[in-house]
């Protein structure tokens, strides 16, 4: 069931949580609403679930307008950040709750609950109370409960937020496979870009109640639409630079840059602008060349598929992070405290001004 949100506005007093948001989530996909806290992502999810009502705009699934429909009639499963499991009910009763209130027979409830518990790998725990489960298990009980009545849409609020790092990683992978199995349109909220990119087919980046960019993880990673998205995705070096007849140039670089720039032509601007370069888009050279910056090596972390080199810009004393392939690193034979030259291969800049 495709989910369509059109022009939704939501205010809490003088605070505008959502400012004209429109999103379309295709049937069967897994979409992540990504943004910092206060970006309105949870409010949007709650509006989808019917737990909050928009001041204007509409929500529909597969062409049926749901804006005025109660949460209970929406056919959506909602998993709360802290799970909201009923403490006085066993795992079985929690998962069976939506079925019991729909008047299912005991036998049918039993079958369905067993099936769901098997689906979320919790067989044999039906008599436990939520208090006697681990965080990851509670999460899966909440998921099974939300899925019990076969909702058309599954909504997850920070599904891994309350779990420790290792469990989170396991559950991400699990959720990905699980989504394949159940093929229910799923929308999740997260503030963790890694999580969004790892799990979702479709990522919607939100900022201050607006949608900053939406698209596949690859589109967003390769072509961030704004400086905000670039920053939010993290792992990026920000240089001071300027536009010289539409081509970017790093401050302090020896000569004009030879780096390829993202959308170099569309901007006919002049003047200073922040320039964004990802660590793997930087190379280290022994000798100064056109467009390179002098930098001192602080630390080298050779653990991992890429060698991460921390440097300090000689002129501005700002840190620079470079990721080199092992081959390149072996070729260069770098040592801490050496002065080398950093050469960007690709530079990004954004015209709609945004500063941190």
């Amino acid at each position: 069931m495709s989910v369509v949100v059109e022009n939704v506005v939501k205010r809490f007093g003088s605070f505008t949580a959502l400012d004209g948001v429109s999103v379309t989530v295709p049937t069967g996909s897994l979409c992540a609403l990504l943004g910092p806290s206060g970006s309105g992502k949870t409010t949007l999810l709650r509006i989808l679930a019917g737990l909050e009502h928009p001041d204007s705009g509409s929500v529909s699934t597969h062409g049926n307008d749901l804006t005025k429909t109660n949460a209970r009639d929406r056919d959506m499963g909602f998993v709360f950040q802290h799970y909201a499991l009923f403490r006085h009910m066993t795992v079985f009763d929690n998962v069976g709750f939506p079925l019991k209130i729909r008047g299912w027979s005991k036998a049918k409830i039993n079958d369905r609950v067993q099936e769901l518990l098997h689906l979320v790998r919790l067989d044999g725990l039906e008599r436990r109370l939520p208090a006697n489960l681990s965080g990851g298990q509670r999460q899966r009980v909440a998921l099974a409960r939300a899925l019990a009545a076969e909702p058309k849409v599954l909504l997850l609020d920070e599904p891994f937020g309350a779990l420790d790092a290792k469990v989170r990683q396991e559950l991400r992978t699990w959720l990905r496979r699980f989504h394949k199995e159940i093929a229910v349109t799923t929308i999740l909220v997260t503030h963790d870009q890694e999580e969004a990119f790892e799990v979702a087919d479709e990522v919607v980046v939100m900022r201050q109640g607006r949608i900053e960019q939406s698209g596949s993880p690859q589109q967003i990673f390769d072509h961030p639409a704004s400086a905000f998205v670039m920053d939010f995705l993290g792992h990026v070096n920000v240089f001071h630079g300027r536009l010289d007849h539409g081509s970017p140039r790093l401050h302090g670089a020896t000569h004009g840059s030879t780096a390829a720039a993202e959308r170099p032509v569309s901007v006919a601007g002049e003047g200073t602008t922040p320039l964004y370069v990802r660590p793997h888009e930087l190379d280290i050279e022994r000798h100064s060349s056109d467009g390179s910056l002098a930098a001192r090596i602080l630390h080298i972390n050779p653990a991992g598929p890429l060698v991460r080199v921390q440097l300090i810009d000689e002129r501005t004393a700002k840190p620079i992070m470079v990721e080199l392939s092992r081959e390149r690193f072996a070729e260069l034979v770098l040592l801490p405290e050496e002065t080398v030259f950093v050469q960007p291969r690709q530079v990004r800049y954004f015209t709609a001004d945004y500063s941190i």
């Binding site: 679930a49 909602f78 909201a84 006085h88 709750f97 209130i101 019990a148």
Partner: protein, 274 residues
């Protein structure tokens, strides 16, 4: 002790000793004295005293009125607690502090005020009397003052539990398809039953022992509006101490049995509620 103690208060034996001594002095000693004093009577005397028609009518009234008052308090207290916790409105703090008034007010004053209100020429009585409702000097009056004195118990036991009940649970139930009634019945009520029963038990126990307010509004007519404590005081005034304590012992035994039953109910609801 060689082992490091992880308890906050030091000295298990000391604190238990104080606890036991205190309880013995305050509760057990007077209780056993009552039993011993009552045992001074012969079997026939005891039966004559504690099982006379008048005494039985008084027990019946005491327990009946207390039970009804506690029930009413459970229902109204629930509503009050709900309103005080769930709805923000101007004057909520003030209303909240009013709840404790029955604790602070000497109950005799309450009885006096109630009886003057509901008397034939009182503010309320002048309207109620013509339509056949006798508020003062009647069983209804007794129930009314008992409701007043027991008011805080249910409210104060429910309030903290309601405050800790996250709105998320109701939202979860709603999004899982539960109607408002189903949410209340299956999600809220199981969490609220234990404190509700506690509040009920406290209000009930308080009503059983209530004397000051009742004597003013009841009229204390034998067989009609005479509660057991009044009967005891009557005996005391006749210097029939043994008879008075015999009545008190019967009252105590009844109370014990009832509180025991309520405790069992509470335990049952808690095991079901956790």
């Amino acid at each position: 002790m060689a082992v490091a103690s992880r308890r906050v208060l030091p000295g298990f034996s000391l604190s238990l000793g104080i606890t036991l001594a205190y309880l013995s002095l305050l509760v057990l000693l007077p209780l056993s004295a009552a039993f011993i004093k009552a045992a001074g009577l012969s079997g026939q005397q005891i039966v004559d005293t504690v099982w006379s028609d008048r005494a039985r009518a008084a027990y019946w009234l005491t327990f009946g009125a207390s039970f009804i008052a506690a029930l009413a308090n459970a229902a109204i207290g629930f509503l009050l607690a709900w309103v005080l916790v769930r709805y923000p409105f101007p004057g909520r703090k003030f209303l909240d502090s009013l709840i404790d008034l029955p604790f602070a007010l000497p109950t005799a004053v309450a009885g006096l005020v109630y009886s003057s209100l509901y008397a034939k020429n009182g503010w309320l009585g002048q309207f109620l009397e013509p339509i056949g409702i006798q508020g003062a000097f009647s069983r209804l009056g007794i129930v009314l003052v008992l409701i007043f004195t027991g008011l805080p118990f249910v409210v104060r036991t429910l309030q903290p539990v309601l405050e800790n009940l996250d709105a998320e649970f109701e939202e979860a139930a709603g999004s899982l398809g539960a109607s408002r009634w189903q949410t209340f019945r299956y999600v809220l009520l199981p969490c609220l039953t234990p404190p509700l029963l506690t509040g009920f038990a406290l209000a009930f126990a308080r009503a059983l022992g209530e004397y000051g307010s009742v004597i003013f509004i009841a009229g204390n007519m034998p067989y009609r509006t005479e509660i057991a404590p009044v009967l005891i005081v009557g005996r005391l005034e006749e210097f029939a101490y043994a008879e008075a304590t015999a009545l008190a012992v019967v009252l105590l035994l009844f109370s014990f049995v009832l509180l025991g039953v309520i405790n069992l109910l509470q335990r049952w609801s808690q095991s079901y509620g956790n």
